[in-house]
Point group: D2
Chain length 253, copies 4
């Protein structure tokens, strides 16, 4: 006999239940999207602090202009008229190791560091270790925002004003200081690093941090796809890229 | 020269701008996820009514138990450890013509009906027309919820209490009455039908209604994937399905 | 009890069976890829004619330069290092209604026409009908190849030399003649139209024609991804597209 | 100015060129699918040996019954009628780290080993190292086929009969012997391990080995989707899985 179990949802002909609550009578219109997302993930309604922090995390990653996510979504939409879920789905695969992976990596690092007694020593060690192995430190550096990612300090501020305990944020800041020392130059704490700290503050495990990035970016792609239907950029993007490639014929042998 | 234009976002080394607002100073921590999603789509901040309606729409479609979306996400997660965006992306392709397509179809129908002078006559005509052509009427009927989808009346109530004008909702209710007459039996207004009406009330065009379904379901799949990492159902689902198929050998020829 | 049945494959601890044949002893090394693909689809090994036609169909759609498929695959590969199946999967979604849909549409049209007694009259009718409704005729016209798609006559020639009966091809050619008369100008039979005819000649139903397009394009994307790993174009494509978009700020209100 | 270059393909209004050859006059009908795939990847036509080995590699991974790939494809097809590329694309994401990743991992291992002077010593070292670190050895072991994967010896035989040099195969066999010694029990060389060796014999780099697995499985999914359209299993799979999950209500707090 199968032992499959789920605690998320069930239904019958006249009702739908999410984690023990009746969707129609207990949830719809009584709790917001961010609250219910937290509730579905964790099994309990968030505090006001947790809701505020979760919400700002979901906002931050919604949009960053003409990124691969948006370009892919526009191209795929042009190939699949009327099937916009495909464009969304394809665009969301760009939330991968390069973009959101850093959030997850930074989250795991901080999660480990929070168990250490001497945070400062641990940070110095981590910085030195990554430096000597020439390994990218997740959550640090940004190819577009220099010298600092403007989102990170604001995220820390919003979370603190919302009343988080602040241990993960403080640890990331300490790590930032040690990184600058170890590398001999300033490396910014980027938004994915800051978000990893915020999510840890409210109990979101690193394993699903990039699910939240996907959810957030899905929202952002909605705006891109509305614009795509109005302006039809997909065909033009194709032409532009096609014309930018020079064909190199093989040498005669 | 390229004529490509976007009104959604831009950035420079020290700032990010979404539709004319500075992300860090004007948006983060000052507006919620639902508000900013509406803002990114339409270019203006929603009223309290619009925010409330958008929010309840995003909640409704988050979750419905062990649907194809969740099953696919769990199977793909098991094949791609550490790459949870792939599981999300594959699961979200199930938001297709069968599930969210009905929302879009109902939205286009209502959008057309709202331009008619005699709503009642138009509804009677639409019902009779679908009935005689034996064509499914988008937004009506549900394979699991009988006799009525419990979400629809609650959605109408929430929207009305939030202060919508109510023309699209009223039209859908009128259509429901005419459908029951034309078919000689009661067909429920299902949740995707109700959501189509709510989204029209706040100015969301049918073309992107299923983008919002994708965003909403991405949130729901986050909960499924957290549970998947804890309970490891993917392998068991595979075994269960595999064992349920009987192999039929070809007849000797 | 479940009634699920499959005739495709089964296995036990020491053997694998595909449609009644032992993979290891009957198939591996004894039949080629194209033969076995036909065998898995239809349940019987193809004739030499069928193999030849299937093979040329699989070749034709492999590659067409820097199409959306290739651009998407390169962008997604750059975001997901080491997970090249995601890049393939995302790129293959571009085999949609615009590209391969025409093949399926043309296949369905020809399938209907083959049942008609008076082919010429049917063709004239179809041409006139699409013309008057200003509806695109699947399998006709090409945005890049003018006045003629060079692949189509060669495909007809290869199939005829391989020994097909030729009814579907002849019907498509007749249709082409009637189209030119009805439109008052020459519309080329494009490669997807020609492929639809070839596939019908060997018994491939329209419903899975685009599956074969996906298989074929998967092969082509393999070459693109090898080149991508060597030349790293994904980041440059992103930069190029990003810089080509002008940001339009909202007007002050 | 952009420096983007491709050596794969170009086109003009009347011709299409793949790696310096005219598609219509030089390739269509003159070379088979497997040959042209090899040609597109490497830039030269394969020898008869290379064609034979490539072909058997493409056949081997086409099909293995009701795997996650097939289950996902059937579920997604049911949600997206008429858009079979989405079902293919979603199913192909199951070619991930768990299935094809072992092929790539084994390929990289063998590639490194082929540079060693003392193959036997290197194999003993690799086996001991994985054993002591309790790390899975890519290309060894199989959850369904015991004690041996029946495909591997046949693949070696086909490749040798086709005339490969045989260094990679011999190295894998040597590694197999050392593995059995180090582990004190027999671990089978599985099909993905054998395929990695065969692909190295014909010069296919590990980085694109899973692209070929995707291409091969796309062929296999074509058969599953044809069967799906005839037997409609997707809805039944959903019902079966849904009913197998028990809902666990939260404890009262």
């Amino acid at each position: 006999m199968s032992e499959l179990k789920t605690a998320i949802a069930t239904y019958d002909e006249t009702s739908i239940t999410w984690r023990g609550k009746d969707l129609v009578n207990d949830l719809l219109g009584k709790h917001g999207f961010t609250e219910i997302l937290y509730f579905l993930i964790t099994g309990r309604m968030p505090t006001a602090t947790e809701t505020k922090v979760m919400d700002v995390c979901l906002v931050t990653l919604m949009e960053h202009g003409m990124t691969p996510h948006a370009i892919v979504a526009r191209l795929v939409a042009d190939c699949n008229p009327g099937q916009v879920q495909i464009a969304m789905s394809a665009g969301l695969t760009c939330v991968g190791d390069v973009f959101a992976g850093t959030m997850e990596g930074c989250g795991r690092l901080l999660e480990a560091g929070l168990k250490e007694v001497d945070a400062q020593a641990w940070c110095a060690q981590v910085a030195a270790d990554h430096r000597s192995r020439r390994k990218a430190l997740p959550g640090f550096g940004h190819n577009l925002h220099k010298p600092d990612d403007p989102r990170s300090p604001r995220l820390f501020q919003v979370a603190r004003e919302a009343g988080v305990e602040g241990r993960a944020i403080a640890l990331l800041e300490t790590l930032g200081g040690e990184v600058d020392k170890a590398y001999g130059r300033h490396l910014t704490i980027n938004a994915t690093g800051a978000l990893a700290a915020l999510m840890l503050e409210i109990g979101i495990p690193p394993a699903i941090m990039r699910c939240l990035a996907v959810t957030s970016r899905a929202a952002g792609l909605t705006a891109h796809l509305k614009e795509e239907f109005e302006t039809k950029s997909g065909r033009e993007i194709w032409r532009l890229v096609d014309e930018s490639f020079a064909y190199v014929a093989p040498e005669e042998g």
